[in-house]
């Protein structure tokens, strides 16, 4: 008699756990969808990123050019050239970040 009671209690618990699982799954799925399309606080984060991405590329370009000039004695031509490439890279970074251009690094994710 007690055994029968216990079994039914177990079943009841299993059933409730199962329904909880199902509900959790549904919520998780909804959350994933929500998180992939949430634009909330990343807006300000993106704003903080924009300028530094742009400036850093120019600095790196100028530094590479300066290094080549020092090695090859072609001052100031390599620096001018690489600084311009740096500008291009900076604009590219910013446009990629803003999503205007597709990012080749992230192509796989888009294809999925």
């Amino acid at each position: 008699m007690t055994r029968g009671n216990k079994n039914s209690a177990d079943e009841e618990r299993d059933r409730r756990l199962q329904s909880l699982n199902d509900r959790l799954k549904k919520t998780r799925a909804a959350e994933v969808q929500e998180s992939s399309s949430r634009p909330d606080n990343t807006g300000f984060g993106n704003a903080l990123r924009l300028s530094s991405e742009f400036v850093a590329a120019i600095l790196v370009g100028a530094a590479i050019g300066y290094g080549i000039d020092q090695l090859a004695g072609t001052a100031p031509w390599a620096m001018i050239l690489f600084m311009m490439l740096g500008f291009v890279a900076g604009v590219l970074n910013v446009m990629r970040m803003a999503g205007v251009m597709s990012d080749p690094y992230r192509q796989e994710k888009d294809e999925e």
């Binding site: 984060g45 903080l48 400036v55 850093a56 600095l59 490439l85 900076g90 796989e108």
Partner: protein, 250 residues
């Protein structure tokens, strides 16, 4: 109280040490780094020690932190990226707690020194390079060669891609450093206005309400920036790790 806005960033040696001509003194910066690490590990170990099916408040806070970073990493780098979870989680917590410590008056802001942020970003950069070359060999260089570009302009595109890649650790570190430095200086300058204005009698005290309001607003903004910088740093780490795991995307 020093009114010099830069004064707060000065290093003070608590325990002078020198080994082999290298100055490795225990400074106020080291002290706050140790405090950050002790606080984060201490809190997480304490919070998760119960391991309850039904979490306590502290445990569910630890779980929220875990879920937040894990979700960020999984979104950006896929489930393969979860191998790097310990590193990403430590980075996030270290930066977040160090930034938040900086918001206490008279506390030292570890992340307002570029050497710290460069060390953190170089850690990420070298990890990305190491993992990329270890996993893909020279195939990692495909990262610099976008598909579908005509051969004629390929050298130009590759040069631009390389510059854009090398710019990452710089923008990664400078962003965090500059935001923390500039924020704290601005805060200090506006707070200084309150003090110097109020020394001009009644009119000055009335006028000092304006910079006071500004300081209150800036403090709130700084809390937001402190969190967002940690968030942005971690998110970019995840994206860079994704490049190391899947270069070229094909």
């Amino acid at each position: 109280m020093a009114s010099d806005p830069i004064h707060q960033f000065q290093l003070k040696k608590h325990i002078p040490l020198e080994i082999g001509g290298m100055d490795i003194s225990f400074t106020n910066s080291s002290l706050f780094m140790v405090a950050t690490v002790v606080c984060t590990s201490g809190f997480l170990i304490w919070a998760t020690s119960g391991r309850g099916m039904v979490p306590t408040r502290a445990q569910s806070f630890a779980e929220i932190l875990y879920e937040f970073v894990a979700g960020m990493l999984r979104d950006a780098a896929g489930s393969e990226g979860m191998k790097f979870f310990p590193m990403v989680f430590s980075l996030f917590l270290f930066i977040l707690v160090a930034n938040m410590f900086g918001m206490f008056p008279y506390f030292f802001t570890v992340t307002s020194h570029i050497i710290i942020t460069v060390a953190l970003s170089m850690l990420v950069f070298l990890t990305v390079l190491g993992v990329g070359f270890f996993k893909h060999g020279l195939g990692f260089l495909k990262l610099f060669v976008p598909s579908g570009v005509p051969i004629a302009i390929m050298p130009l595109v590759v040069a631009i891609e390389i510059i854009s890649f090398l710019a990452r650790p710089i923008s990664h570190s400078v962003r965090l450093f500059a935001n923390m430095l500039a924020g704290h200086i601005t805060l200090k300058v506006f707070a200084g206005f309150v003090v110097s204005l109020s020394s001009f009698g009644v009119l000055g005290i009335a006028g000092s309400i304006l910079p006071m309001l500004m300081t209150i607003g800036l403090t709130a903004l700084e809390f937001l920036v402190a969190f967002l910088q940690a968030y942005v740093f971690t998110m970019l780490t995840c994206m860079y790790l994704n490049d190391a795991l899947h270069p070229g995307g094909h």
